[in-house]
């Protein structure tokens, strides 16, 4: 079973992401900010990370840059799931190592389609 880490400072958003992915048969871990995500990614391997951008302690872009340096995460798909849609932010995400960008609010079926495409 594929494992996905959901990172967002909003508990309700994490719950919605987890609900959507678990219904499709994925195992889901949760982190409340960038630091929490790095700790959890170091402890066990995830097949994909879905992260918000604006979070306290460590934002999404900084978290992506850091997680890419962890062994085993160089090619792990990382999706940014955020309210932000500014081209400058997207560019920053891409340079940091994000695989894709989804603007909230997401439709469950669309999210699943993207996840299924990226996680083989």
């Amino acid at each position: 079973m594929k494992r996905i880490l959901s990172v967002d400072d909003s508990p309700s958003v994490r719950q919605m992401v987890s609900f959507t992915l678990r219904k499709a048969g994925y195992e889901v871990g949760e982190a409340c900010d960038g630091c929490d995500a790095l700790a959890k990614a170091s402890q066990s391997k995830f097949d994909m990370i879905i992260t918000d951008l604006n979070m306290p302690n460590l934002d999404g872009i900084q978290m992506i840059s850091s997680v890419r340096t962890i062994a085993g995460y160089a090619f792990t798909p990382i999706l940014m799931l955020t309210t932000e849609s500014h081209p400058e932010k997207k560019d920053a995400g891409r340079k940091a190592g994000a695989t894709g960008w989804i603007v909230k609010p997401f439709n469950g079926d669309h999210l699943l389609a993207v996840v299924q495409k990226l996680v083989r």
């Binding site: 508990p11 958003v13 609900f19 959507t20 849609s85 894709g100 909230k104 609010p105 439709n107 469950g108």
Partner: protein
Amino acid sequence: MLFAANEHGQIGTPTPRAAVDRACALLERALTTTGEDIRAIAAQFESLARDVQQVLNLTTEIVECVQQDWVQSIVPVAQALASSARRFIEERIDSLAAISNVFTGEATMLENLLSLTTEQRSIAREGKTLGVLASIEVARLAEAGSRFEYMARELDEFSAMVSLGAAEVRTEAEQRRKTLIDRRRKLDLTLQRRTSHFKVIETELGDAIDAMNSALSNFARIPADFQTCVSLIAANIARIVEAVQVQDVTRQQTEHVRDLLKQVSGEIESSSTPEDDSAHQNAILKVQAFQVQSACANTQAWVDEVNHCLEGILRIGSSDVLAIGKSIIEQELALSSQLARIEQLEQECAADDAEIEASLAGISELTRITKTHLTRSRQARDRMQLLNFNSMIEARLLGKQASAVLEITRNIGRISTAWSALTDRSGDTLEDLLTSSSSAEETHRLKTHQSIQNLGNARDESNAGLAALSRAAAIAHSNGDRVHAAVSAIHDRSATLGRVAGHLANSIALMQEAQDEIQNASRQIEPYAVALTHEDRQRIENECAAIYSCELERLILSAALNGDEMPVSGAALVGNDVELF
């Protein structure tokens, strides 16, 4: 200073800073209560989605049962059974009526036989008398009479044979007549009973099939309709996933308003005069008022989305689904009961057949005896004819002496002719008896055998179909109970969700009050504000954009500063922009 005096020196209107601070506090409270409510909604929602999925799974199982071939085929199979039963009934009645006619015919033939035996006894007596006369004449003729001794013997033997044979046939025929009367009476009663019994079975079987057809139509329709309804609810629940995320957008929007209001409050406090930087402060306040207005509209929009979903859920009724399984089981039992009656009927008809075959066997015994008697009669006829011929020759040779013998001979001839006619009539009667009994036996055997087989096959098929239907009904019944329980749980959870969603109206009220305070502060500052320069606008745009995190906030900022069209409420509900790098 929190409250300023007006031009009349009255104290009461909050100062701009107080209004801004109050707005901040109201937004803080709104953020806290909304956050709590959203967490409660999300928790209930996940359980709700699970319950709905369970209902869908259970209903799908029922629908799949219904779509099985053997459920679809039960009514045609039962109708085929009804046709076979009807044919069986009709052929049975025809056959019984035909057997009854055979018995009637046999009774007539028995009367004929008895009448024949009476005539035969009469001939036997005549023969005996002639034998005596012949003996007297033989004695009278002395030596000449020795040529006729054999005639007296023949006549005696003939008389004895005829008497014995007639007595045998008479005894058997009498016995047969008694049995026949009894059997005819029983058969007529059986025919009556069977006819009315058959009518009842036909009517009740037809009613059971009609009821089953109706129940099966519901069995096909109700779960599928329910499944469609629940699928729509599941789709609506999926929209709640989006609606809950919109709260995240409005949360960020509200937090940014709060942060900028704190900044403005700080600026007002540090201003030495009301005119100091008032244009900048006023512009920011106006933008925040629009941001709060947008947040209120979006919150209301997703609350409406949640309520719409809940209304749909509360409309789900599972009482039909609950009842369907029980209804099918009842109809299945009713039809099974009819099948059991048909099986019992077959057994009773088999018992009737045993009696009919025994009766037909009785006819065989009678025809056997009659055939034997007929053979002997023909032999006697031939001997009498020969005796007659020889007697006539001997009598003519004797001349006038044999006049009495001649007379006896003529009587022998007459008896011989009469006997011959009786023999022929016996043959005809026997022939008729054989034809009617063999025809009835053949018809009865053919008709009953085929229709019993057809009925047995139809009954077996119906039993197999009903067994399969019973399994489907059991699944529907069990799942129906579980669906009903799950729907009750869904209704309870929806009611809880509805109450929580109702709390959100308080949050919206707080935000609207905050908007009023912001506008109040703006109205107080505005008289002192000069017109914004391009640089002022640029500065404000940079300050706000630095903390904004979604396109909606930037659109509102631009519209407020430049007089563009304000984005419509609900714009925050549009997302899903996907880009893969």
